[in-house]
Amino acid sequence: MTKIDLFKTHKADYVAAKTPVVIEVAQATYISITGIGAPGEHAFTNAIEALYAMAYTVKMTRKKNNQGDYVICKLEARYWSDNGECLSKVDKSQWHWQLMIRTPASVAIADLEQASAALISKGKSAKVKDVELIEHQFGSCIQMLHIGAYDDEPRTIKQMLTFAEQENLSVGNEHCEIYISDPRRVPAERLKTILRTPLLC
């Protein structure tokens, strides 16, 4: 059986261009967990851990049951504010976030329920219960690769906004990221992150 690698199959969705480009991301399945607060905070890192625990438990359990094998995709995140204000003007503690890992559509809610029950039975954080199976459509987006520290992102975002203006595109206030590098292992100045801003239709 061939192994599914959605990150490769949907290469166009994850194009890491050095200058802004417009892409279209169709509806897809993700496992996801949401929360409010500054990225990197305790609740945020716990959520990442829970999401990965679920991702691997579901994947390997399905593999064991001959339900196919797939590669765990890169971590993605959406950020937005409650009142629709631009994130740069909102205190980080008020940021809403959704962490997501793209998953084959064959993964079912029952897989997640089974996985969270197994993890909790072994004393893992109950946070795994908050991991959901969702469908999401990013639609039309401006996308660009950012190399460097997360704090340095405004420089890339500015480029994306200038591009939007030039092209006469209106952007929403949602900001999305796809983490190519592992921040625990890669020095900040070399971190690779795909930035994505969905367009208003």
Partner: protein
């Protein structure tokens, strides 16, 4: 102090090298060589190949060929005799190898007295008849740019699946392990992925290499399916981080044993090394892989 240890590793290795030269016709065992210089035999070979840049087998084979070349030009022994002395089963096999190394057949080489056997390795160790080695410059693959941390490690309880065969083919063991542990809720969170390599691939044939794919488990875990339980012994370890493809792990091992250890104040302990894999090789580009390597150290 460091200078002294380095000298001691060097002088001990010099004894091994002289012993090899003195006993070039014997089938030397690693155990015997290690004993000659008070090395524990467990990691001796890694220290040897790290410091010399070639394995014992390669060195012996090369020295025998170099001796054969000398004998061709300085003695009247028959080529067959010289071939057998060099460890070849026939003069045909010897001639073939000789030609590969020098581009000349033994008989042509014999007639051209001004020809020298070529230096085919970076090693400073050469076959000599009337000299003894007193010191040598340890092999350097590249400048040692290695961060090593000495750690006191606690015993680590793991579930594991044994793989026997080439190290690159250990994926099946990982699949078996992860498939068995996942439905039990034992993947994720703080579970660590650890690899224990029991054998030195420079010494042991690929089909016989033993490797344990391990994942840390809670105390009450008693095994499931093909997964057994064991403890990775704690103690003093030297830890360094290998960045990049698993294919190049061997280089880092050679460096830590050959360069770092031989210049440190430490001796290796008779336990296997282990590796902790910090990311998922399936979804990570090889150059972005991060692996912590642990080398067991003896306590004074």
């Amino acid at each position: 102090m460091q200078q002294q240890t380095r000298k001691s590793y060097l002088s001990r290795m010099v004894r091994v090298l002289n012993y090899i030269q003195d006993n070039l016709d014997k089938e030397l065992t690693l155990h015997e060589l290690a004993a000659e210089a008070c090395f524990s035999s467990y990691h001796f070979h890694r220290i040897f190949s790290g410091m010399l840049g070639e394995s014992v087998k390669e060195l012996v084979r090369r020295l025998r060929l170099e001796r054969a070349a000398t004998q061709l030009q300085t003695t009247s022994k028959s080529i067959l005799e010289i071939s057998l002395d060099a460890g070849y089963e026939s003069d045909m096999a010897f001639s073939r190898m000789f030609k590969v190394k020098t581009g000349l057949s033994p008989s042509v080489f014999r007639r051209s007295l001004q020809l020298r056997y070529p230096c085919l390795t970076q090693s400073t160790i050469r076959y000599v008849t009337n000299e003894r080695i007193t010191s040598f410059e340890p092999f350097k693959e590249k400048e040692l740019n290695m961060n090593v941390i000495i750690k006191e490690v606690e015993d680590i309880l793991v579930g594991f699946v044994r793989h026997v065969g080439p190290y690159q083919e250990c994926g099946q063991a990982w699949d078996t392990l992860c498939c068995a542990l996942a439905p039990e809720g034992l993947l994720g969170g703080t579970a660590k992925m650890i690899g224990v390599s029991h054998d030195d691939p420079d010494v042991i044939a690929p089909q016989k290499l033993r490797y344990d794919a391990c994942i840390t488990v809670p105390e009450n875990f008693s095994g499931i399916d093909d997964v057994a339980v064991k403890t990775i012994a704690g103690g003093l370890y030297a830890m360094t981080t290998h960045l990049g493809s698993y294919e190049n792990l061997g280089t880092t091992y050679r460096q830590i044993f050959g360069q770092w250890l031989s210049q440190s104040d430490y001796e290796s302990a008779d336990k296997p090394c282990f590796e902790i894999y910090l990311n998922d090789p399936e979804s990570t580009a090889p150059e972005d892989l991060v692996t912590d390597i642990y080398i067991p150290l003896a306590k004074d």
